[in-house]
């Protein structure tokens, strides 16, 4: 690799985080400001600063817990932590990486099934229509999660208000979109 003696070396997941996102976990001094401002931290199993701490240890067991955590899925990427971090640590970027990695290693938290299904149904819709076709997406999502009844009460009023299109508006260059998906996310079957 690089011969720069000052390059950031940390093994394990923290090292991977750095290689993929330039986020140095050692840069965090555990002030907890991210956790204090995170709107979801009380729903997390480990608040953001704890995730940072677990990665700092380099302990494989704790790293495993990070990948299997619910935190990384309930994170909304609202960017509040990053905006207020005194060390300018891009936690949202790190969370993206951890999510991708958790899926890749099939370690996603079971509680996150609905969230992940949402993302996958969303992307499926984009893959096939180029856009987010809401009815198709809802149907797909509901099949994935079997949460058939949730939100069904919203559908008639939405249709009444003209908020749902029955027929998808298809993109013209569908093969182009399909090719983008093939070249990027193909490893992770959606």
């Amino acid at each position: 690799m690089s011969s720069d003696p000052h390059q950031y070396v940390i093994s394990g997941l923290g090292g991977e985080v750095f290689e993929n996102t330039e986020v140095k976990v050692s840069h965090c001094y555990q002030c907890g400001k991210c956790s204090a401002g995170c709107p979801l931290s009380e729903e997390m199993d480990y608040p953001p600063s704890m995730i940072m701490r677990m990665l700092q240890t380099g302990n494989p067991e704790l790293e495993e817990k990070v990948l299997r955590s619910f935190s990384i899925w309930v994170c909304l990427t609202c960017e509040m932590c990053y905006a207020r971090c005194p060390m300018s640590i891009d936690i949202p970027k790190m969370m993206d990486f951890l999510r991708e990695k958790a899926i890749e290693e099939k370690k996603a938290n079971p509680k996150a099934k609905q969230i992940i299904s949402f993302h996958k149904s969303f992307l499926d819709s984009v893959k096939y229509t180029g856009k987010m076709y809401e009815i198709g997406f809802y149907a797909d999502y509901k099949t994935r999660t079997l949460k058939i009844l949730d939100d069904m009460l919203l559908v008639p009023p939405m249709i009444k208000r003209g908020k749902l299109s029955i027929i998808p508006e298809l993109i013209k260059d569908r093969s182009g979109i399909a090719s983008i998906f093939r070249k990027t996310i193909k490893k992770n079957k959606t």
Binding site: A36, P47, M87
Partner: protein
């Protein structure tokens, strides 16, 4: 014919472990002009020095080369030894075999060869060296102290008490600085004013101290022992000699609603004002930017009422010029205001205040007479939150350093709150408690254990107002970063200590280095903590970095000792390593053609024009001349001179060329 002595030092094993010292001595000994060449284990030891002295006397040496460590280490040692044996010290040079050779190379023939080369170049240089005499300059035994806070006060008193004159200038109307604003002081809780005001009075009364308040440094010229400073005495619009300090004017001034600097904006002052009751001097000044007469052209009520007729609306700034021998910089620091914090409301909430504002609330001389009352409605806060590291240790806000004093004053604030508001609840959000100092940690523990202050480890993410309460959102990182939300009545931010506004400009004026945060830089972080890199200018207190009172006072006394040391001599000796413009026999007089490019290039304004006249007084030629008092030997003029008419003594063209040629003509 040159007779050079070469002395190769082993430096224990530092050099001899990789360089074959005996071989170096042997090879160099065969060079032209080398009268003696030998090696020894420790050349800097007494026996080592005696070898050199003996050789000078016995062999009649004309020059000496010591091949050992860096000249920064031992050049003074060896030059002194040479002088003692009767050789001009500037005929002694060093070849650096340690830092430049043995420490950076492996053992081997090439290393020894490099050592030989290094010695040879210096031998050739010394052959061309000339005897030089140290420059003597007189010392003006008056010190200028800039800044009248506790550091400036202490430095002034210490210098004055050692028998020297001091001019103390302070930009505000009174001396006292931040310390005069403080309520109690950690870790003893003694009243700040009570311990400070006697010192302030002592300054005013000291026969050796001339105090100029409302005064600033205008410009500076000269060098150590011989500075010339211009001081701007801002117009106070008062005849100080006549004013009795009765204060009637300040009660009559109709312009009353100006935020008081002394009370950190928590109280008001009039346009003609004395900043606080114990001010020194206790005489008012008119703030021209606020006074109705100066801004709108009429009022003059103070003049009407002044029983002593001391008001002078036509007074103008006065510039005075004084010679001083040394300068102590004690300009202090500032704290960030609450508007620096987007997440804490950009300074819009009156009940979110700075630590310095809390000092005013807690002080008996403050706007609430020492009661802790919140600025918005005067209520006594039942719940108070202190936020440590507000802006400090915050790279994102451009202040990565620790402000050092906040941990202690925050503990003190929480303690004072608990003492004054019985049954009140106080919280301190902190990241680390930095309480290194005598009785400091014990003090913090007392706040926690005896006064019941709740310390929560975590930074505060946001503060906002709701229903008259301030909602403080933090996390307890010792409880797994559990979110903590406190409904507070008042929030005190321990805002970062920063350099004073104008610090950068002042540093540039004085040619003093400063760090990226505009704190003045000490000459060496450990061994020269009160010196600057400009000789004769010293540092005291928080203008160098955030400092507490004991440290500021210690620094001030240190700087004063340096000044007193300087003033203990009548003359200063300076190295003669300065520029000279050559002189030749008539009719040339000098190869200088008088283009004076050097004059504009010289950063020290050390080059003057000299007229060469005949006996009738007619000017034959105008050439450059270097003022030896001002020249710092930087060599800029040498590089600029198109006719190579300027040389730096000790590093003349001839000397440097012979060094280079020795290397090339191997």
């Amino acid at each position: 014919m040159a007779k050079i002595g070469v002395f190769i030092c082993h430096c224990g094993e530092n050099i001899s472990a990789t360089v074959d010292c005996a071989k170096v001595a042997e090879v160099v000994g065969k060079y032209d002009g080398v009268a003696i060449s030998l090696d020894y284990k420790y050349m800097c030891s007494d026996p080592g020095q005696n070898l050199i002295k003996k050789a000078i006397v016995e062999k009649g040496l004309t020059g000496v080369v010591v091949a050992s460590c860096s000249p920064r280490m031992h050049e003074p040692t060896f030059r002194k030894a040479c002088a003692e044996a009767g050789l001009n010290p500037y005929m002694c040079e060093m070849a650096n075999l340690r830092e430049h050779c043995s420490w950076v190379h492996e053992k081997g023939e090439a290393t020894t060869q490099k050592a030989i080369d290094l010695v040879r170049t210096i031998v050739e240089k010394v052959k061309h060296n000339q005897s030089l005499d140290a420059i003597k300059v007189p010392v003006t035994k008056t010190a200028l102290v800039i800044g009248g806070g506790i550091a400036g006060i202490q430095a002034s008193l210490d210098i004055a008490n050692s028998g020297h004159k001091v001019i103390l200038i302070e930009k505000d109307p009174s001396i006292g600085g931040h310390m005069s604003q403080l309520s109690e002081t950690f870790p003893t809780l003694d009243c700040s004013q009570c311990i400070l005001t006697p010192r302030m009075v002592e300054v005013a009364q000291h026969p050796n101290i001339t105090l100029y308040t409302y005064a600033e440094l205008e410009s500076i010229d000269g060098f150590i022992g011989n500075f010339k400073v211009k001081i701007r005495k801002k117009a106070k619009s008062i005849d100080e000699k006549i004013c009795t300090g009765c204060g009637l004017c300040t009660t009559k001034c109709p312009n009353k609603k100006n935020p008081s600097e002394f009370n950190e904006g928590l109280g008001n002052r009039t346009a003609i004002y004395v900043p606080f009751p114990q001010a020194v001097p206790n005489k008012p000044v008119i703030d021209k930017a606020l006074c109705t007469y100066y801004t709108k052209g009429k009022c003059k009520i103070c003049e009407k009422f002044c029983p002593a007729h001391a008001i002078r609306f036509d007074q103008e700034d006065e510039i005075i010029e004084v010679p001083v021998g040394a300068i102590v910089l004690a300009t202090g620091f500032a704290v960030k205001k609450t508007d620096f914090f987007p997440e804490y409301g950009y300074g819009r909430h009156p009940d979110i205040i700075t630590g310095l504002q809390f000092e005013r609330l807690a002080s008996a001389s403050g706007p609430t007479l020492g009661e802790i009352r919140r600025p918005s409605d005067g209520k006594i806060p039942e719940t108070i939150v202190f936020v440590a590291c507000a802006g400090s240790r915050d790279e994102a806000k451009g202040i990565p350093y620790c402000s050092k004093i906040c941990c202690m004053y925050t503990a003190k604030h929480a303690m004072l709150y608990q003492h004054k508001v019985h049954g009140g609840k106080s919280y301190v959000f902190y990241m680390d408690i930095r309480a290194g100092g005598k009785m400091y940690d014990e003090f913090v523990r007392r706040a926690i254990e005896e006064d019941g202050v709740n310390y929560i480890r975590g930074r505060v993410s946001r503060v906002y107002e709701k229903n008259g309460k301030l909602i403080v959102k933090g996390a307890d990182t010792l409880l797994g970063a559990m979110p903590v939300e406190i409904e507070a009545d008042m929030v005190v931010l321990a805002t970062a200590g920063v350099a004073n506004e104008g610090a950068e400009e002042l540093a540039q004026k004085l040619h003093v280095s400063y760090d990226p945060y505009h704190f003045f830089a000490e000459a060496h972080p450990k061994l020269k903590p009160v010196e600057t890199n400009t000789a004769g200018i010293f540092l005291a207190g928080a203008c160098q970095a955030p400092r507490d009172i004991p440290e500021s006072v210690a620094m001030a006394s240190g700087a004063a000792a340096k000044v007193a040391g300087l003033f203990s001599q009548d003359e200063l000796t300076r190295e003669p390593l300065i520029a000279v413009v050559n002189r030749q026999a008539p009719p040339v007089f000098s190869s200088c053609v008088g283009c004076f490019l050097c004059m504009s290039a010289c950063p020290y304004h050390a080059i003057e024009k000299e007229e060469i006249k005949n006996r009738q007084g007619e000017v034959l030629k105008t050439v450059a001349k270097v003022n030896p008092g001002l020249c710092q030997g930087c060599g800029t003029c040498v590089a600029f001179c198109r006719t190579k008419s300027i040389d730096i003594q000790g590093y003349t063209h001839e000397e440097v060329y012979s060094e280079v040629m020795a290397l090339l003509n191997d």
